[in-house]
Amino acid sequence: MAIELKIRVNEKSWSVDAAPETPLLYVLINDLSLKGPRFGCGLAQCGSCSVLVNGVETRSCITPVSAVAGKSVTTLEGLPEWYAAQKKLAKSPALHPVQQAMIDEQALQCGYCFNGMIVKASELLSKNAKPTDAQIRSAMNGHLCRCGTYPRIIAAVKRASQAMTGGVQ
């Protein structure tokens, strides 16, 4: 039965009318009109639907909306603010450094997988500011790209890491 649920997404509170077992993804897309997380497989296999739940990358396609009650959900749209809060910046940047690095590397092709790519890379860099090539590959390994953009994503994550740790290109 549909009930009213309160969830916190991108630092805003929402109350949604959904059956508690509804996957979070459908609520984010249809009730909150968000465009970051998107359906890819519905099976936790591809990373298309990834969001951060309390800073941890989570597959929203298999996470019941009721499971995030009382937690903080961040989507692609909310990453700049999330980054500003983490870094205690006075003002949030227009883009998270990972987002900017993806543009700088011209990493996207169709770009459909980049929601998951950016969310996952942002999570990685929040835990490990200077990952090695092998660490990037292993952290990102659960995210698929059918267009074959992996090499440029790896380069972009390195670039973002440098930007975030004050290094120069």
């Binding site: 543009i103 267009c147 992996y150």
Partner: protein, 734 residues
């Protein structure tokens, strides 16, 4: 009825319906005149607005390859605008010209010249308008960013916007105004960043999958999990509509054997589709993976000699060195990362359809057929989705959404589930290839023969087949066939023969073109045979190819790939190691119809586990004049990674009744951990006609990988994907 120009006047109000909550305002079914608009009018191709910007109408889909940026570059170049002053609109059968589908990497090849000439004619017309205003002859005018000025008196000027702003040219497209020469280019040949990326990384970009309209229902199709033989379709035996009675608002919709559900909430539609009890008449008519190649090779086939030059048999008989090489190549799938999606609003007398088709006019025909409406009552709009790489399920999903909307009497948004997309794709067909080749003692190839077996593309989509009981059919001729470009045609060979064996495809899987269609199979087979000849002769495989190629453009990409990889001559497999993990390098050339591709692969083979990984792939393309080299480099990188995925991982699995590759676990693709480094080289030829660059390096890459395996192990792989089990078996029996 509003005309297309009424939309233009309202400042490009064509771009609507984007907001999730929004309505497809103005975009009602008769929102403009049914197209295609008259290609002989300049106004069909572009419009200049009062704010001194331009809109170019491009008949090609943006498939994630940045072609719209490149075509805008071409238009901006001729108009002397800068990139910030120019935009395009999405494809719409009522708005954009019919330039044919976005196939065979055709956007730049076919679209470039049309857009270029139209822009040049518009500029000439604008200069003619400016001349009396500025009291100067046309010859003394110059243009910079859409401002026309008199040479030497920069204050005497007028902008394009002031000259024509949002009014029509009313000018026939003559195609006679001279275009700029490459020496004059300011924008063409420059790497302009793609315009779509900022919105895409910010989560603001609107993909097809985001489109919503007021009052719509969510739909899902219900089919057996995984298709059976194409000719069999799928027949419903029993259906229990009460099985979804407890799902709020869910409805079962059926037409013939086409079955689907709709519900106001998406999750309800998803679970209704999963819960609905239906049984299907499943026939064990497929060969299954086990018997596939044997059936293909031994069954009936329509044989056709594609090319026959000289006397191959005699030349082979007298050749100093001969090789023969057979291969078997699997079905592979498009496997769009975001399953195909369509939104249909079908009224009794008209229909509006949005989907990610590569060909809005082609899709319009199919949708009109299933709905029983005349063509001019159906409007199809393209909306960018996830990459499609050829004829994936976009026509099927469009027809299915149209049927659901017609049956429901409401707009329906349909997105395929992962198992629909994987299980009911139009797969890239399997192939069996046999090559014989011979060389004389000096290393000159004297004879070559390639015989290939495969079926053709499907001509009837699943929704139409099921819903209207339409008999499955394949393309009659053309399309899936041997082409010399990838089957030895790049070499200078006197005795040459290609034979195409078209097998009837109705008892196989539904097939269609998959990025670089059949080319990976052709070149994996052909280029390994060529490589083997070099080996028999004791020659370096790069030098052997140089020795046998006359065409400077083939030589150009071969050299470019070799140079990028710092190739040093040595005979293949001349450095075999006893270690468990060995490395190898290989070279290959290939293409898809036009353009020229070359590649070098450096791979690593673990002889204990059978795991093969590409460490570094180098790809070079000659696509004539490359408008946006940065973009093409990105394309090459994607092609190399995707080709590696196809050579190492991808194979559609099926048994005698149905496809069993239904998700990313049962159809694995390459991941980060095995991603190669890539190096892309654009061989720029500004004075040559542009040709495609979206797929032409893949065949070369497949060949290079096959040859690298031989270099590493001394063993030829005759089948791909080169999975650990296959590799271990090949090494064992060698």
């Amino acid at each position: 009825m509003k005309s297309r120009r009424d939309f233009l006047k309202s400042g490009g109000a064509l771009v609507v319906g984007f907001s999730l909550r929004g309505v497809i305002s103005a975009q009602d079914h008769s929102g403009a005149v049914a197209g295609p608009p008259d290609a002989k009018q300049i106004d069909t191709w572009l419009a200049i607005h009062s704010d001194n910007t331009a809109t170019v109408y491009i008949g090609f889909a943006e498939l994630g390859q940045g072609n719209s940026t490149a075509l805008l570059q071409v238009a901006a170049e001729e108009l002397d605008l800068d990139m910030s002053q120019i935009k395009t609109v999405r494809l719409d059968t009522n708005i954009t010209p019919n330039q044919g589908g976005t196939y065979s990497s055709a956007s730049i090849q076919r679209g470039g010249p049309q857009v270029r000439t139209a822009a040049a004619e518009a500029r000439a017309a604008l200069l003619k308008m400016a001349a009396p205003k500025l009291n100067a002859p046309v010859e003394q005018l110059n243009v910079n960013k859409g401002i026309v000025a008199v040479n030497g008196s920069p204050n005497s000027r007028v902008s394009y916007g002031e000259l024509i702003g949002d009014k029509q040219f009313h000018l026939a497209f003559a195609g006679t105004v001279p275009v700029k020469s490459p020496a004059e280019y300011k924008l063409v040949g420059k790497s302009v960043p793609r315009k779509d990326m900022p919105a895409k990384v910010a989560g603001e970009y609107v993909y097809m999958q985001h489109m919503r309209v007021e009052g719509m229902l969510h739909g899902r199709v219900v089919r057996p999990r995984g298709q059976g033989a194409y000719g069999d379709g799928a027949k419903i035996l029993t259906l229990d509509e009460s099985s979804i009675r407890d799902i709020p608002g869910a409805r079962v919709l059926r037409k013939g054997d086409f079955l689907g559900v709709v519900a106001p909430k998406e999750w309800d539609a998803v679970r209704a589709a999963q819960k609905l009890k239906a049984t299907w008449d499943i026939k064990p008519t497929l060969p299954g993976n086990q018997a596939l190649y044997q059936r293909m090779r031994s069954g009936e086939a329509e044989d056709r000699v594609v090319t026959n030059r000289g006397d191959v048999a005699a030349a082979l008989a007298s050749a100093a060195h001969t090789v023969s090489l057979n291969s078997t190549c699997p079905y592979q799938m498009h496997a769009c990362f975001g399953p195909n999606c369509a939104l249909a609003d079908v009224k009794p007398d008209s229909a509006l359809l949005m989907c990610s088709t590569q060909d809005v006019y082609g899709t319009r025909g199919g949708v009109a057929r299933v709905l029983g409406l005349p063509l001019n009552k159906v409007r199809v709009q393209y909306q960018d989705g996830a990459g499609t790489y050829g004829h994936s399920c976009y026509d099927d999903v469009a027809q299915a959404a149209a049927l659901l909307s017609q049956l429901a009497g409401a707009p329906v948004r349909l997105q395929f589930m992962r198992w629909d997309e994987h299980g009911w794709d139009n797969y890239g067909p399997a192939h069996v290839g046999e090559v014989k080749a011979g060389a004389d003692a000096s290393g000159k190839i004297v004879a070559y023969e390639y015989q290939g077996w495969h079926h053709n593309w499907a001509n009837v989509e699943t929704s139409e087949q099921l819903g209207l009981s339409k008999q499955a059919a394949e393309w009659a001729t053309g399309a899936a066939q041997m082409v010399s470009q990838n089957c030895g045609g790049m070499y200078d060979i006197a005795n040459f023969r290609l034979v195409n064996h078209k097998i009837p495809g109705l008892l196989y899987l539904k097939g269609a073109w998959l990025r670089s269609p059949l080319d990976l199979s052709f070149s994996f087979t052909s280029e390994q045979a060529i490589d083997q000849l070099a080996y028999e002769l004791g020659m370096d495989p790069y030098e052997f190819r140089q020795h046998n190629i006359k065409d400077p453009r083939w030589l150009g990409v071969l050299d470019a790939a070799a140079k990028a990889a710092r190739w040093t001559p040595r005979k293949a497999a001349s450095d075999l190691s006893k270690a468990s993990v060995v490395t190898g390098r290989g070279i290959g050339i290939g293409t898809h119809l036009a353009s020229y591709g070359g590649a070098v692969a450096e791979i690593e083979v673990n002889k204990d586990t059978g795991r093969v990984v590409a460490k570094h792939l180098y790809g070079a393309i000659d696509a004539g004049q490359v408008v946006n080299p940065g973009n093409v480099e990105a394309q090459i990188g994607g092609q190399l990674v995707q080709a590696a995925s196809r050579m190492f991982k991808e194979e559609v699995k099926f048994n005698t009744t149905n496809v069993t590759s239904l998700d990313w676990a049962s159809y694995p693709i390459l991941r980060f951990d095995e991603s190669p480094e890539v190096t892309a080289v654009v061989v720029q030829r500004l004075n040559e006609r542009s040709s495609g660059a979206g797929e032409e390096v893949m065949a070369a890459c497949a060949a290079a990988i096959g040859n690298a395996f031989f270099d590493a192990t001394g063993v030829r792989m005759h089948e791909y994907p080169m999975t650990p089990a296959r590799v271990l078996a090949a090494l064992k029996y060698a």
